[in-house]
Every structure is written in C-alpha cells, then in structure tokens.
Assembly symmetry: C2
Homo-oligomer: 171 residues x 2
C-alpha cells in the first residue's frame, strides 16, 4: 500500500473507533439524563436550555444553540415551550432588535435547584462505571484527549463557556 | 459540607461534565457519519446494522441491538428495511427457532466496500480535530479512559466485539 492509502486507512479505522465509542457513551449518558429529569416533564434539550440560560446570564437563542449543540430552530422551539411553562422569559434588547434573549424565571431557577436536589434519586450508570477509575486515580477521570478534540472541533469559546458553566455550578 | 455532600456534588459535576462532552462529541460524529453515508440512502442505524452483520458472521437481532446500542425493536425494524432492499438476508436456525439471524448479502457487501472507497469524499470534522493530537503523539489518540468507562458500562464482551470488529475492518 502507498503512504497515502495507509494514512486513509488509519483515519478511517480511527473514525470508526471513535464513532462507536461516542455512540455507546452518548446512549448511556442519554439514559441517565432522561431518568434524572423524567419526573419534571422535561426532555434533555429543554433541561439543557435551562442550564445554559442559568449559566450564561442573558443568553441569546443563538448562544443556546451553539453551547447546547443544537439547531437554532430546535433551541428556539424548546425555549418557547419553556417560556410557555413560565420557566424562561424572552426579551429583546434596545441595541439589538434582531436577537431574542432568554432568562431563567424564578420558577425556572427553583426547578433547577429541585433537580439538583433530586440528582441522587435516579440511576447513574456513567458515574457507576467511572468509580473504578476514580479509585485508581483518586479522582474522576479528566478525559483530556476528549477535551482537546472538542476544543479543536468547536473552538476555544465553546470550551471557555463549558468551564465557566461547571465552575458556576460548583459555586 | 459533609463528606457525603461533597461526594454527591463531585459526582454531579462530573456527570454534567461528561454529559456535555459526550453530547458535543456525538453531535460531531453524527454529522460526519451522516455526510459520509448520505449518498447511499442509509441512516446511521442502518449502516451500523450492516457493519455489525458483516463483523459478526451470523448475528442475531439481539446481537445487533446489543453491539449497536439500540433497542431490539429498532434493530429489527432497520434490519427489515435492509432486507427489503436486498442488503441483508434473514434466517432461523434449526436449534434456535426463536431468534432471527441476519447475514449480509453480496449486494450488502458490495455496498459496504463502496462506502469505504468513498470515505475520503466527505467532510470529517472529528478526524480534522484529531490531527493536532496525532501530530503530538505520533498517532491518533487512544481514549483509554473512555474505553475503560465503556467497558465498565457495557461489559467485556461488548469491548471484545468492538476490538474484533475494528481488527476485521483493518484486514
């Protein structure tokens, strides 16, 4: 095989490997996430919108789409549902009439707190599956390679918001 | 905060971290995968079924579901579509009348080969995003922590099939 063919084969195998790992991981994450939020009549995208609105004070719909990795129309539709339930409020800005901004209402904030309080009451296969690594490392795994990859795909500002959000949740 | 509360908080933060990373990764993988197979009128699950049928000679529908991380009904429905297109054949076994087994047809096999041949003609954001790591390490990243986690969640046989499949694809 030529150098070029070897490189193409290597890339394809790598791509298949990460595709399968990623699918398996996401399906486990998705199940855990759904189990956690199910009693609150939320789907994953709706919960994600609430989290982003809470973390990015005064987020626009396009911020929600970007940081929630969803289409703008998806971000808008789910935000609309949440607004109708009184969990989010919509606003325009004087200096920016084109974009819609969302903010968590008091009721939305209370719902998020309640969700955190109930975190331990659902099954968490991903946490359980990470315990052996935690025992080995003394802390949960960091997935640095994965973070580097996500940074390369989505850009520095995506990762910055990601880190700020987690920091905020911690506080 | 008590020890227990600190542990609960740590677990929740970790869970949020991995949920967001996993969603971002899967969305990128999904887009690349869809772009690759789009010209062949396949969706991701259908392509995944073909790959598993090719890798596990004589796979049952429940094998497809397990290794494809999909519901049994999803695995069955997509397999049925593929059978109708002449890409898979169904069979029963004399010693096991309850399970349905699937096998790639000649046409299915040709389609897979054609797909591999066309791999380079679509956009691959995940590969592109991995190039800086490849330059740093001299090879694509291995994601050992992720593999350990998937192994803990899905079991040893899942990972064994995963490795065998990639090995087979390599040959």
């Amino acid at each position: 095989m030529s150098e070029e063919m070897i490189a193409a084969k290597e890339a394809m195998l790598y791509s298949q490997r990460i595709a399968q790992l990623s699918k398996a991981l996401w399906k486990a994450v998705e199940k855990d996430w759904q189990a956690w939020i199910k009693p609150y009549r939320l789907n994953i995208n709706e919960h994600h919108v609430l989290l982003i609105a809470n973390n990015l004070k005064g987020a626009s719909i396009s911020d929600i789409a970007k940081f929630g990795v969803m289409h703008v129309s998806t971000a808008f539709n789910f935000s609309k549902n949440l607004e109708e339930r009184g969990l989010l409020s919509f606003s325009k800005r004087d200096n920016d009439k084109r974009n819609t901004y969302v903010e968590l209402t008091e009721k939305g904030h209370e719902l998020l707190l309640e969700l955190y309080g109930n975190f331990n009451h659902s099954r968490h296969t991903v946490i359980d599956g990470s315990i052996p690594l935690r025992e080995l490392y003394g802390e949960f795994p960091q997935f640095f390679e994965l973070i580097a990859l996500i940074r390369n795909i989505y850009g520095d500002d995506f990762m910055e918001i990601f880190e700020v959000s987690l920091k905020k949740m911690e506080d």
